[in-house]
Symmetry: C2
Subunit: 490 residues, 2 copies
């Protein structure tokens, strides 16, 4: 076998083992017996040790050195495998182990601190995590920017400076949009009632099918936090049900279907290779968000959904297609990121990005984090934080050591804006299909232009290849201004 063939065969086994890791996570969140938690920890650790051993296997370096990639695909394979090898070998094993150990403990401390509204009790472990990630960033960056080094795990090729530039344009426009909505004097009637669980799950499944989810290669279960798991021919999603609030179930299902379809639609010849997954967190989020927002929260699609909901649940307190569309897209100020509407969502993210970047750089001391959070929240949202569980303690990410992850959520929205502008240009009759509950023209466009290519191109190039235009924030802002201007009458 050539070095290239050996490299790809070795990588294929590694990818298969990484899929096994994903199956264990799915199992843990959905069906695992409670009492298995500790033993599962050992099972995961043993498999992680195997994966780590493969990532730093010296043969990978030898094969990489001896490989002579010829096609575009071979070059992409080599690029991604080399990046993973460099990353894995740069960080000392004891530092990696300390991060795993500390974040495992931190999860419980964060959960207890949040439950007891006690920020101070969480700060020591947060400081420790920050210090460990700073050391890791130093090992990875070779003297370069620390935040950029961490960002590469989630969004290869992206930099803090580039995000700063985009978010610097987004933030004032979103603050202004929020203010315009608040000052419009409009407040759509929210949906109220009791929506039985079985009916919600049935409509949720119907929506998943409509959005192209292949049940032959997936399944839907319930879990506390909705997620999508796996690649290739086994991509499972979860959803959640609140009988008083059915949109949560429907739109989180469609969101996860966006993630899952990206994985399911990658070309089969890329399965179990370095190119066989979504290329970055940002591009992944662009798929989940365009499915959920630009498509499923569009006026045309909500008209169809209004009819389906009346078929399933009988008469609603919200009357008429316009009122229903406004209820789906109702803007409501709130403290919690995961419950935020399209206007507020990115303001949550931009704040976290600035705070974590300042902490990592040493410009914001951990004991000052809560005050900085509360000041910024008041400035951007016009509302004070009432308690830490509604503020700095609301998200799990920092306790898990995820620094550099948050901005990919907003980047995903920016990408979704670009993709939506391009597909609307190419599909002038899309609304006619959406109004019959059929998003397939848009899904076909996304599959053909973006999803099937997996990791063939770097993230930004992936978007630009699909749209034929440079990435920018303007399409997202125009979409938001137009949509909410129409709903709120400004």
């Amino acid at each position: 076998m050539s070095a290239m063939a050996e490299l790809l065969a070795f990588q294929r086994q590694t990818e298969a083992l990484a899929q096994v890791m994903g199956r264990l996570s799915w199992d843990q969140e959905t069906v695992m017996p409670q009492g298995a938690v500790e033993q599962r920890g050992e099972e995961l650790a043993a498999l992680e040790a195997v994966l780590h051993g493969r990532r730093v296997d010296p043969r990978v370096a030898e094969w990489l050195a001896a490989s002579n990639p010829e096609t575009e695909a071979e070059q992409a394979h080599v690029r991604l495998i080399r990046r993973a090898y460099d990353r894995a070998t740069k960080v000392p094993a004891d530092l990696s182990a300390a991060i795993v150990r500390t974040t495992a403990l931190a999860h419980g401390q964060w959960a207890r601190a949040r439950a007891s509204e006690d920020v101070a009790s969480f700060l020591p472990v947060l400081s420790e995590i920050l210090s460990l990630r700073q050391q890791e960033a130093a090992a990875l960056s070779g003297g370069g920017d620390a935040y950029d080094a961490l960002l590469q795990d989630y969004e290869p090729g992206m930099t803090g400076a580039a995000l700063d530039e985009m978010f610097g344009v987004l933030r004032p426009r979103l603050v202004a949009l929020r203010a315009a909505v608040a000052e419009s004097g409009h407040d759509p009637v929210p949906l109220k009632g009791v929506f039985p669980k079985a009916q919600q799950l049935a409509l949720s499944e119907e929506l998943a099918r409509a959005f192209g989810y292949d049940f032959n290669r997936g399944r839907i279960d319930e879990a506390v936090h909705p997620f999508s798991s796996g690649s290739g021919h086994d991509v499972r999603i979860t959803t959640r049900v609140d009988e008083a609030e059915p949109f949560g179930c429907f739109y989180s299902t469609i969101h996860e279907v966006g993630h899952a379809c990206y994985e399911q639609n990658i070309a089969p010849d890329l399965t179990l290779s370095a190119l066989g997954q979504g290329v970055s967190m940002g591009v992944h989020e662009s798929q989940s968000r365009i499915y959920e927002n630009q498509l499923a929260r569009s006026r045309a699609f909500t008209c169809w959904l209004y009819g389906r909901m009346r078929d399933r649940f009988g008469a609603l307190n919200v009357q008429g297609e316009e009122a229903f569309h406004a209820a789906v897209n109702r803007v409501a100020p709130g403290h919690i990121r995961t419950e935020a509407d399209e206007v507020h969502y990115n303001l949550h993210i931009l704040m976290r990005f600035d705070l974590e970047r300042a902490m990592l750089a040493g410009d914001l001391a951990v004991p000052d984090l809560e005050a900085a959070w509360n000041d910024r929240f008041l400035a951007d949202f016009g509302v004070a934080v009432d308690k830490p569980s509604n503020g700095v303690l609301q998200d799990v990410h920092w306790s898990a050591g995820l620094i550099g992850y948050f901005p990919t959520y907003s980047l995903g929205n920016v990408y979704a804006g670009c993709l939506h502008q391009a597909l609307r240009r190419d599909l002038p009759d899309l609304d006619a299909a959406l109004a019959t509950g059929d998003p397939s023209p848009a899904l076909d466009w996304l599959r053909d232009r973006l999803q099937r290519h997996g990791g063939m191109r770097p993230p930004r190039e992936t978007i630009e290849h699909a749209t034929g235009a440079p990435v920018g924030v303007e399409p997202l802002l125009e979409y938001l201004d137009t949509k909410f201007g129409e709903i709120y009458g400004f």
Copy 2:
């Protein structure tokens, strides 16, 4: 770290990875999407390659050579780890791979042959499997008996000659018992009716709890073939439901609970070690069979079950405790092993043992297998085989390469007979508890005497330690003669 400590730490990771393999199998049989089959094959193969690499890791031999086991437990660890290492290193890798490849293909060929009643189409691959297993046996045995070499995978320490001696006593006595039942003129009224699935599953769960299954460390799902999966703190079982025949659901649940409780009750300090699983297939089967038969099919327990079934399902066509007990234990001649009653079951196994042993030795040619099967069936069961799916094609085992596995079923029944005799001696009031639906005195006895010790002693010693008496077939035969003599009046 000492060599012993390194050996045990390495083994712990191997056991954790073996548990991961078990989780994947559970997933495949219960929740995996259909379309994931091929990709799952690659995931399993990648993990199997990791496990194989650990089993033949030269460091294991070094640690074994340098270890100085002091306690009984350390000696047991070393004995089991050495056996696994010797086994894994004796068989050439290409032979192991050929067995995996051939049996994977053979499964589909067997299923198609069975569906089309076409024995001839299955014989070529059966010959190939036999040849591969003969080569493997030669590699393992070092000139010793081929069948004994294969038997060690399922029942360490057992020999074909020792089985021959036991089964030589069993067979004529079982044939005589079968004839006595047939000639008794009695035929209990079988249970008839429609028993709704939800009610069957609810009573099935109640029975699982009564038999000590810990739902905090397990769960019950439905699957085509009931099974138990996993060790330690995550031991899951499956059951099946036929609305016309509820005993299948109840007794297969209790059977699997017997397997699962053996795993759940092993002492926690043995978890994820070489001693942390049931010690052999035969001892495992002794637990499932004593739960299912000697306990749950006893007169005392069926009296209680009669009441619970009337509570759940209303009036039954079978009236009275005696008639119900007879219906549960009804002896019915039939072709299919998995549906056989206690009188016929071991006759099925003894036949398979003799046939596979003769094939492996070269005394029975594969093309003559069907005729040999049919002759033997007529001799032992007094009924002719009507079609291959009711005869030589009924079991999956040979297509999976499992030669040496069948006799452990009957050995499990022999062991269960020994255990039952001993626990009845120690628990004279057991029937009073069973009559209230409470088998816990017997379960406590089994946990304390046998289950908690895991792999500490070899299989036969495990049984003899529990009973304080040598293993023999007489207790099983006395139990069967007494029980069926009472029911059938001879």
